[in-house]
């Protein structure tokens, strides 16, 4: 797509009837694991973090996987909403849900401005433009100390009470069914899970809508979409704003969950990580970014204590391997394998 048309970005993934069944089964199993996770000893804060990044990766996938636009600056929207939400909840005393809504709105607005500028160029220039503008956001966060705390970030964001009644921190003291002890963070956990499921379904809805079909047409062959009379730029801009808004949702939620917004959220390496999550899991598939996000966050958690600086090297190596030999990602490879088997 070097300023023209070329091979589509996403791997082919046409789920046939049996694969549709399989994917429904996979989703049911995945959801069941997520619902049970805090009760079977999995650390809730870890899964909440992974879920936030999963939302982030799903938002990114809407753009790369279904529209064919590579934004290399998605960290900016993630961080903008994290800062906005964190500041409003901590310093202005807003309840968490309003903080999140405001964060999402701010990211969407920033996405509108950046998108308006960036979609003037296509393909690789689009990626470079979004990267450069995200770097600009990074410097703004770095220097606007009075609000963002500069290099220290925004610390001590309270979780507060959802809708003014349900405390998100700690856990209820009663036992579930009178027997099971309820682990810490369980309320927050289910709020995050609910948001995640809503985002997942929302993105499925978008992709399967007539609007989503147009996006895919743009991904496959932009000149043809233009010649069919679609106002391609408007479709792209809307996709960009939707994606940045959802990325903002992920960032805002993360600042509530972890209680801080940090400068590293806005760093270009985070923009790279979300690309890797999507690529590794399978771009242009629904479950791919989620699996990718859990893999990368899990890997980072597992490795950071043991190998220190080598985490960067390992992430880089995964990038290289993915691009050379594994462009379909986990889910894409699985779908391709199922298709091959069916044909035989």
């Amino acid at each position: 797509m070097a300023d023209g048309q070329a091979i589509p970005v996403a791997p082919i993934a046409h789920p046939a009837a049996s694969t549709a069944q399989l994917s429904r089964l996979g989703l049911a199993v995945g959801l069941a694991i997520l619902v049970l996770a805090p009760f079977i000893g999995l650390y809730p804060v870890f899964i909440m973090t992974a879920l936030c990044y999963a939302i982030f990766a799903c938002a990114f996938n809407l753009l790369l996987g279904y529209t064919g636009l590579l934004s290399f600056g998605h960290a900016a929207y993630f961080a903008t909403a994290a800062y906005m939400c964190g500041w409003l909840v901590r310093s202005a005393g807003l309840p968490p849900e309003l903080g999140i809504v405001a964060g999402v709105a701010t990211s969407a607005l920033l996405g509108l401005v950046v998108g308006f500028i960036a979609i003037r160029r296509q393909g690789i220039y689009f990626a470079m433009t979004t990267l450069a503008l995200a770097e600009m956001a990074y410097f703004v966060f770095l220097q606007w100390r009075s609000v963002t705390g500069g290099e220290d970030g925004l610390q001590g964001v309270p979780r507060g009470k959802l809708l003014g009644t349900i405390p998100l921190a700690g856990a209820p003291h009663d036992k579930l069914f009178g027997v099971l002890p309820i682990p810490d963070d369980v309320v927050m956990y289910f709020v995050v899970l609910a948001v995640f499921v809503a985002v997942f379904l929302f993105i499925r809805r978008i992709v399967h809508s007539p609007y989503g079909q147009v996006l895919k047409a743009i991904r496959e062959n932009e000149p043809r979409a233009v010649s069919l009379g679609y106002d391609v730029d408007r479709y792209k801009l809307l996709a960009f704003v939707l994606s940045t808004a959802i990325a903002g949702l992920a960032g805002a939620l993360k600042s509530i969950v972890l209680g801080f917004a940090s400068l590293s959220d806005a760093h270009w390496s985070v923009s790279g990580e979300v690309v890797l999550m999507t690529l590794l899991g399978g771009m242009g598939t629904f479950a791919g970014p989620v699996i990718g996000a859990f893999t990368i966050i899990g890997l980072q958690n597992l490795l950071s204590d043991r190998v220190g600086e080598w985490v960067t090297v390992i992430i880089g190596a995964i990038f290289v391997v993915c691009v050379i030999a594994f462009r379909r990602g986990f889910v894409g490879e699985l779908l391709a394998w199922l298709q091959r088997r069916k044909r035989q």
Partner: protein, 287 residues
């Protein structure tokens, strides 16, 4: 006045690095169709090659100016043969992603070896003084960087635009199959082009080593600015990238004098404005 002129000079020094890197980026993109995110890492590796050469092997600055680009150029050959070769027929975004991964690897390895705090590389004795020009005191090394990189940039421009070799190279950009049919080893030419671009980045790294702190992070912070430079200038023209690079360095220097808070974002602001007014970039060819 002295502050003003020395900031301007510093801007010109930075602009020289922008010019050298965006030039290499443009040449590589022209022939390989790959946006080389690792360009910043190669620049950083060049600086470290000079640093390690001096600390471990006692190789002085002038030798490093020749050796570091050759070593990093050889690394470029390996990268091209091992990885990039597989990506020429697919979407260019994969090239960006692959080289991004390579940049992460390089940065990680050097962070592990040297930490994130910077190393200092001494200026060569010959250039450690300063010349009093009457209206300002000009540090010799800065003048040398600007002159050296201008010579290298214009030399590259001459090589590509005015020689037979360059004509072949440009023909390869337009139609590799046809050039191959004339009996020219296009894959070799592609490899050497990438190596040349890598060497150019390394040379910039060696030139930069005495004026900045040598750190593993120096490459990634520069490459993003260079991307903005490339978007502003358009990758179509070699002379264009040289001029844009130098001009933006100057603008950055000026901003440091008048409004220092904005100096780190001014290039990006200009990029946004240029994209609004002239989406193809100042020297871009496409409509």
């Amino acid at each position: 006045m002295q502050v003003f002129l020395s900031q301007l000079m510093l801007g010109l020094v930075n602009g020289s690095f922008y010019a050298m890197l965006s030039l290499g980026l443009a040449v590589i993109f022209g022939l390989l169709g790959i946006v080389n995110f690792a360009h910043g890492a190669l620049y950083m590796l060049g600086a470290y090659a000079a640093y390690i050469g001096l600390e471990r092997f006692g190789i002085n600055y002038w030798v490093a100016l020749v050796v570091a680009p050759i070593v990093i150029g050889a690394l470029g050959v390996v990268i091209e043969r091992l990885f990039l070769r597989h990506l020429y027929k697919i979407d260019p975004i994969y090239g960006l992603l692959l080289t991004f991964g390579l940049a992460l690897i390089a940065e990680g390895v050097l962070r592990y070896s040297f930490g994130v705090s910077g190393q200092t590389y001494e200026k060569p004795e010959l250039l450690s003084g300063a010349t009093d020009l009457g209206f300002m005191v000009l540090p010799d090394y800065r003048a040398w960087v600007v002159v050296a990189s201008l010579v290298v940039c214009l030399g590259t421009w001459f090589l590509i635009e005015r020689t037979r070799l360059g004509a072949t190279l440009r023909a390869g950009t337009e139609n590799p199959a046809l050039v191959q049919a004339f009996g020219i080893n296009v894959p070799l030419m592609v490899t050497l082009t990438y190596a040349g671009g890598a060497g150019l980045a390394a040379l910039a790294g060696v030139l930069a080593a005495p004026v900045i702190q040598v750190t593993p992070l120096m490459g990634s912070s520069l490459i993003i600015i260079v991307f903005a430079v490339v978007v502003i200038g358009g990758m179509g023209s070699i002379l264009g990238s040289i001029i844009t690079g130098l001009a933006l360095g100057l603008v950055e220097g000026l901003t440091k004098v008048f409004y220092p808070e904005a100096s780190s974002i001014v290039v990006f602001v200009i990029m946004a404005i240029v994209l609004m007014v002239r989406p193809a970039g100042l020297f871009g060819k496409e409509a």
